[in-house]
């Protein structure tokens, strides 16, 4: 899987690259408009992360050119502008997603994987990990082929964890993803503890070979036992 990261801030570019490489993606980068245009039209990418404000040009112009060529699939806009107009224009031009900075790396992982998954669907849409299977279409969870009932939030949490296997998922990232913007002021995120606790119990009882471990009290990680 080849991903192009178009981002002029090198520090940000590095972190994104480092994070995505951990997921075994092949990453290429472009830091300005012209390099980006060149790479976009010379090579094919499975996914393009596109910053809007670039030196020498706008990311939206790149998107327009891509649309002309019919290559505008699988673009995720990453922008510091939380402007509805930009978002609408970007999505109208065929971008798949719009991520406002600052975002969590776990969120970026999830979005990238969701898009790649949509592209490479062969009829079924499942994530497999150890002896477990999560069916995203049916919203079912199986351990050793046996169904384990999960409530809506538990499913969303597990789904997010599975998009970030073996990776740190901070509590904030999880809260924003599963509970939405309403947690932005939450001074403590302990409210999600009970959901995680229930999920852990269900994983244990169904003898799943995966477990949720705490990471320094700041977040969690889903690992194989």
């Amino acid at each position: 899987m080849k991903i192009l990261v178009i981002e002029d801030e090198l520090q940000l570019q590095n972190s994104i690259t480092e994070s995505l490489e951990k997921e075994n993606f092949l990453i290429e980068t472009a830091a300005d408009y012209h390099t980006a245009m060149e790479k976009v039209f010379v090579y094919d990418y499975d996914c393009i992360l596109l910053d809007i404000m670039l030196p020498n040009g706008s990311g939206l112009d790149i998107l327009k050119e891509l649309k002309k060529e019919g290559k505008n699939g699988n673009v995720i806009i990453i922008s510091a502008k939380d402007s509805l107009d930009d978002k609408l224009e970007g999505l109208e031009l065929g971008a798949d997603d719009y991520l406002t900075k600052p975002f969590h790396l776990a969120e970026l992982n999830a979005r990238v994987k969701a898009i790649l998954r949509r592209k490479n669907l062969n009829g079924k849409n499942t994530i497999e990990f150890a002896n477990t299977v999560l069916d995203l279409n049916e919203r079912q969870f199986y351990v050793d082929g046996k169904g384990v009932p999960l409530n809506r939030k538990e499913f969303d949490i597990l789904n997010y964890f599975l998009f970030n296997k073996n990776r740190l998922v901070t509590k904030t990232a999880m809260a924003e993803h599963v509970w939405g913007d309403n947690t932005d002021q939450a001074d403590n995120l302990d409210f999600m503890y009970s959901q995680i606790k229930n999920l852990r119990k269900k994983l244990q009882r169904s003898q799943a070979d995966i477990e949720i471990v705490s990471v320094y009290g700041v977040g969690y990680k889903l690992v194989e036992k």
Binding site: E9, Q11, L12, S15, I16, E18, S19, K22, M53, A80, K81, D82, S83, L84, T100, K101, P102, F103, H104, L105, A106, K153, R167, L168, T170, T172, W179, G180, D181, N182, T183, D184, Q185, A186, D187, N188, D190, F191, M192, Y193, S194, Q195, V215, Y216, G217, V218, G219
Partner: protein, 429 residues
């Protein structure tokens, strides 16, 4: 006070003064004119009497006023020689048709002397004169009527002329009132040939163009500020996330990193809130539409359900009406969720949040610290109670800013341990 009434106020006062002065002068002049004309008559009368007396000496014995209105008295030489013609106002008893008995009437009297056959006589000739108080009375009413008629005609003329003259001005003013920076495309225009109005239009439009430029600049600045701050914040978050993924961190290092991470997350929240606040302050939300608040409240409560149940806070909704507001839906959501979050987070264990909805108001009451908050400071920026709260301190300030933007009234009350926040939506839509 309208311009029309203003000008009327000054006009009526100055006309009153002018008419008063004029009527006094007019009265004095008229009286003088009357007197001098009577005096001429008396002079002529005097000559006739002296002439007649020379022919008919019986006249010389007439010593009291009767129908012919003169008297004669013989006087000694010295008195006669020292005497000069003297005109004076005096009073004589007279009776006319509408008088029951003789009444004192003002007369003009000429006193003079003459000589016939070496004998000296004093002659008094009188002529009835206009009664001054009658004259004043009559004149007074005439002036009052004049004044009333003048004012009435000025009102009518003013109304007509001013309305006609100021029509382009009011049309221009209306356009200005409806003008919204950033959303109105056309600059206001005055349909007129009047120089002053054209100048006004030019001045206003110059000012507007400056404001538009400043507004655009500010918008750009906000966009840039968000870019400048959000990107470094993203970098720090990412670096920390990657660092925290490392397996070989010492417990102590990890602890510090987590602390830093939490501070950065707070910075992120703060920056988000500040951006929202500056957007509201710059009136950059104007996608107003009819928003039903009732379902919004229920929906937000459902989203917050897990947090409230974790905090062991019970929420109840009492719907006494359907609250609709004409507002940007994003901002409506912000108002409702900020108030609800505030009520849930600043609560006590086993506390309650009760939400009341009427046709015009949203009231959110919660149990909390038994301490009255400052009713005005509670809405000001960065006002947090000294509790363990790590909120941004901007939640209620944002509610206030949105309320101000739409002219809603937001208030705080405290009674018996219950904190109540009320938003009075203007007219319900």
């Amino acid at each position: 006070m309208k311009l029309l009434n203003q000008s009327l106020k000054y006009l009526s006062l100055s006309i009153l003064a002018i008419v008063t002065v004029w009527s006094v002068v007019f009265y004095i002049n008229m009286l003088n004119e009357i007197k001098s004309s009577i005096d001429e008559g008396l002079e002529n009368y005097k000559r006739l009497i002296i002439q007649n007396a020379k022919i008919d000496s019986s006249i010389l014995t007439k010593t009291y006023f009767d129908e012919s209105f003169f008297t004669l008295h013989e006087i000694d030489r010295e008195t006669a020689l020292s005497m000069r013609d003297r005109y004076a106002d005096t009073i004589i008893y007279m009776q006319d048709a509408d008088d029951k008995r003789p009444e004192p009437e003002p007369v003009r009297m000429l006193t003079t002397s003459f000589k016939i056959k070496d004998r000296f006589y004093e002659l008094k000739v009188a002529n009835s004169m206009v009664e001054e108080d009658d004259l004043i009375d009559q004149l007074f009413w005439d002036v009052i009527w004049l004044y009333i008629i003048l004012i009435a005609s000025i009102i009518i003329i003013n109304n007509w002329v001013l309305k006609k003259l100021w029509k382009p001005f009011y049309a221009f003013l209306q356009q200005l009132k409806n003008y919204r920076l950033g959303s109105t495309k056309k600059l206001p225009e005055a349909q007129t040939t009047t120089k002053e109005f054209k100048d006004l239009q030019y001045a206003v439009n110059t000012l507007l163009r400056h404001s538009i430029a400043a507004f655009d600049q500010q918008k750009e600045f906000i966009g840039n500020a968000s870019h400048e701050l959000q990107t470094p914040l993203a970098m720090v978050t990412h670096k920390l996330e990657l660092l925290l993924e490392k397996e070989d961190l010492k417990e102590e290092q990890a602890e510090k990193l987590v602390e830093i991470f939490q501070i950065v997350e707070r910075l992120v929240r703060l920056n988000k809130s500040l951006l929202l606040l500056s957007k509201i302050d710059n009136k950059q939300f104007f996608d107003n539409q009819q928003v039903a608040i009732n379902p919004l409240v229920t929906q937000t409560l459902a989203e917050l359900e897990e947090i409230s149940s974790f905090k062991k806070v019970e929420t109840t909704v009492v719907e006494n009406g359907r609250l609709n507001a004409h507002i940007d839906p994003i901002l409506a959501q912000v108002v409702v969720s900020n108030l609800l979050k505030n009520a849930i987070f600043h609560n006590v264990e086993n506390g309650t949040v009760s939400i009341g909805l009427s046709d015009t108001t949203l009231e959110i009451c919660n149990t909390g610290k038994d301490e009255r908050l400052h009713p005005e400071k509670v809405f000001s920026r960065f006002q947090t109670s000294r509790s363990k709260s790590h909120g941004t301190g901007l939640g209620l300030a944002i509610v206030k800013a949105i309320s101000d933007l739409y002219g809603y009234r937001v208030s705080y009350a405290f009674d018996g341990g219950i904190h109540c926040f009320t938003v009075q939506f203007s007219t319900g839509g």
